[in-house]
Symmetry: C2
Subunit: 364 residues, 2 copies
C-alpha cells in the first residue's frame, strides 16, 4: 500500500517537491527523476544504514552509487566529519554534475546539505529525512550547517534540495524519545501560525504517539505546508522566517550548555517555547490559560517544560552568540496569542530578567 | 597624490564597486561606506600584516575591529586554517550583522571569502587585494574556496564582496616572482577576448615589470573590466565564465603535482596556457605565428612556457578530478585565435594526446 501527497516549495528556479507518504523508499522514480547525475553519494549514519541504505541504493537504478556511513549523533555534525564526506567525493572523483542523497535525521541532512552546498561550490542533493524532526523541519528551507564547538549551526549555507522524500515508514524504527522531540517542532507550527492545528494536535496526540501513519502523514503535511509557506516568503531569513525560531534562542542555549546531544534539539526547543510563552505571558500578551494550554500540550507529547539547571547568567552568555543577535541586539520570538507569533528586539528587558529568574537557579 | 577609477560589477542586488588607484588604503570612506557592521574582522597574513594592517585598521574608523594574522602560503588555504578564523569570530562574538575584510593575496581572499560565505550562512565582506593576481582575478567574481588535499578549490561557495579596494601602492612590496605570476592572468584576458589588449601588453611589458603605477592601474582596470563583464553575464559559471579558465585545467594539474605553492598559480597557468595554445595550434585553430606570439609574450613577462617534468599519465589523472569535468567528460578552454577562446568537450582526443606527448617526459 502506498499513499503519497506531494507539496511544492515555491522558490522560482530553486522550487522543489516534497513527497510525503508510505512505501516511498522503493519508488525509484522519486529518486531518479531528480538525479540526472551519473554519480551519486548517499550520506547516512550507522543507525540508519542497516535499515534503509540498501533500499535507497536499489532505488537509484543504474546510477554509479557510493555511500559514506558516518557515526550517529549531534557531536559529529562538525567540519571534521564533513571532511570525511569530502574525502569520499575526492576518492570517487565526484564532479560538478554529481549528486548527494542525505539519508537520515537532521544531523545528516544539515551536514550532507552543507557538503553539497560547498562541494565545487554547489552540487545537487536530495533529502530523505528519517526522523520526524527532519521531516517537518530541517528538510524544508534549504538551511545547511555544521556546528562550531562554540555555537550550533555557526558554519553553513543556504542550498535548496532538488526533492524531499519523507517516508512515514522510516519512523517505525525511530526511538520514542526522538518521535516526541519531533513533535515539539510540529507543535511549534501551531503556536506560531495555526491555532486550528493546535486543536487538531490536542485531539490526535495519542494517535501520533502510537505512530498511526495517517495521523503522522497529516502532521508532517501540515507542518511542511507551514514551513514551505514561510520559507517561500522569505528564503534568506530577512524577516518572517525568523518566526520559525520560536523557542530556539533559549533552546540553543540549553543545547550548548548541556553539550550537543545530551538534550535533543526538540526537547530543548520545547523547554525554550515554554520559556518564550512564559515571557509572553509576563509581558501581558498571552493569557495564563493559553500559557497553560501550551505547557499541557507539550507535556502530553512527553516533552520537557522547563530548562535543566542553569544560571540566568549562563543563559545570557549563550544567547549573546545566537545567530538571532543583530548588531549586538538580542531578538526573540514571542507569542501575541496562540497561533500568532512575533519576532522582536523591542521586548521589555525586565520580562527577560523575570523569565530567567523564574526558570533558573541563581538567576542574576 | 591619489588617482582612483571605479568600476561597477553589475549583479543586480549583489552589485559592487571596484576601486582601483593609489593611496586607497588610507581613504576611510572606501571602507566604512560599505561596512554598516559594528564589528569587523580583518583577515590577513604574516607577510602583509606588517606593511598594511595598521593602515586598514585606522581606516575602519570607529568600528570594533579585530584581526587574525594567518601564516602565508597556498598550503594554508585549508579548512583547518578557516577554522582559526571561525574561532576568532566565535571568540569576539561576531553576529550576522558583522563583516570581514580580506587583506592579502588570493589565498587570503578566497579563504576569508569562504568564511564570510559560511559564517552564520553568510556575512558581508570586503576585498583588499595586495597582489596583482588577486587584483585582476580572485577579487572579482565572488568565487571563494579552500583546497582539499586531493584538489584545489574543491570546497567553496559563490559569495560576492560588498566592495573591492585595489591599491597599486600595495604592489610596492610584492616580490618580482609574484608580480610576474599576476601578469599571467592579465595576459589571459587578452588571449581569451581582447587582441588589442595583447598589443598594449607587448608595448607596455617593460613598464609593468618596472612597476610603473599608471601602467599597472591600466592593466588592472582592463583586466577587471573583462572579468566583470564575463561574470555579470554568467554569475554561476554555467557557460561563458568557463573561458576564464584558459590554461587552468593543465595549470591545476601542475599545481597539484608539484604540491601547492612550489609553482605559483600564475606560473602554472602560464605553462597551462602555452599547452592549451599548442593544442589549439595542433587542432589547426591557431597559426604557428600566433602560438609563438603567445609564448613570446609570456616569456617577456618572465613566466614559464612549459610544465615541470611530469608524465602524460599523471596529467590525465589530475585533470580527471578538475572541476571543469562534467559527468565524466573533460572540458578544455582552447583558442580559435588570439583574443577568441572557446570552451569545449568536443576536442580531438589525439590533439590532447599529442600535446601531452610534446610537453611530457614518458607520455603515455
Amino acid at each position: 500500500m502506498s499513499d503519497t501527497t506531494t507539496l511544492h516549495v515555491d522558490l522560482g528556479s530553486r522550487s522543489y517537491p516534497i513527497h510525503i507518504g508510505t512505501g516511498l523508499l522503493d519508488k525509484s522514480p522519486l529518486f531518479t527523476d531528480h538525479l540526472p547525475a551519473r554519480r551519486v553519494l548517499v550520506v547516512t549514519n550507522e543507525t540508519v544504514a542497516p535499515h534503509y541504505l540498501d533500499r535507497v541504493l536499489d532505488s537509484l537504478g543504474d546510477r554509479e552509487a557510493h555511500s559514506v556511513v558516518l557515526p550517529d549523533g549531534e557531536r559529529f555534525k562538525s567540519l571534521e566529519t564533513a571532511m570525511r564526506v569530502y574525502d569520499s567525493l575526492i576518492e570517487h572523483r565526484f564532479d560538478r554534475g554529481s549528486a548527494i542523497v542525505a539519508l537520515g535525521g537532521g544531523v545528516i541532512g544539515d551536514l550532507a546539505g552543507f557538503v553539497a552546498a560547498t562541494w565545487q561550490r554547489g552540487v545537487r542533493y536530495l533529502q530523505v529525512p528519517t526522523t520526524l524532526l527532519a521531516q517537518v523541519d530541517s528538510s524544508v528551507g534549504g538551511k545547511t550547517a555544521v556546528n562550531h564547538p562554540g555555537g550550533k549551526n555557526m558554519i553553513g549555507a543556504f542550498h535548496q534540495p532538488r526533492c524531499v522524500v519523507a517516508d512515514m515508514d522510516t519512523l517505525d524504527t525511530l526511538p520514542d524519545r526522538e518521535l516526541r522531540a519531533g513533535l515539539a517542532e510540529v507543535i511549534k507550527y501551531g503556536l506560531i501560525r495555526d491555532a486550528g492545528f493546535l486543536d487538531w494536535l490536542e485531539a490526535n496526540m495519542a494517535a501520533l504517539l502510537a505512530r498511526d501513519k495517517p495521523a503522522l502523514a497529516e502532521a508532517v503535511q501540515r507542518s511542511c505546508r507551514h514551513k514551505a509557506a514561510v520559507v517561500a516568503e522569505d528564503e534568506l531569513e530577512a524577516g518572517q522566517r525568523a518566526l520559525l525560531n520560536l523557542g530556539h534562542t533559549f533552546g540553543h542555549a540549553i543545547e550548548t550548555h548541556t553539550g550537543y546531544g545530551a538534550w535533543l534539539h526538540g526537547e530543548a526547543v520545547a523547554a525554550g517555547m515554554v520559556m518564550a510563552g512564559w515571557m509572553s505571558m509576563h509581558q501581558g500578551w498571552l493569557s495564563e490559560a493559553d500559557f497553560q494550554r501550551l505547557e499541557r500540550l507539550l507535556s502530553a507529547a512527553g516533552l520537557p517544560v522547563a530548562p535543566p539547571e542553569m544560571t540566568g547568567q549562563r543563559f545570557r552568555e549563550l544567547m549573546a552568540v545566537d545567530k538571532k543577535v543583530q548588531d549586538g541586539r538580542l531578538r526573540l520570538v514571542l507569542l501575541r496569542a496562540l497561533g500568532d507569533a512575533v519576532v522582536t528586539d523591542a521586548f521589555d528587558p525586565a520580562a527577560l530578567q523575570a523569565t530567567l529568574a523564574h526558570y533558573c537557579a541563581h538567576a542574576d
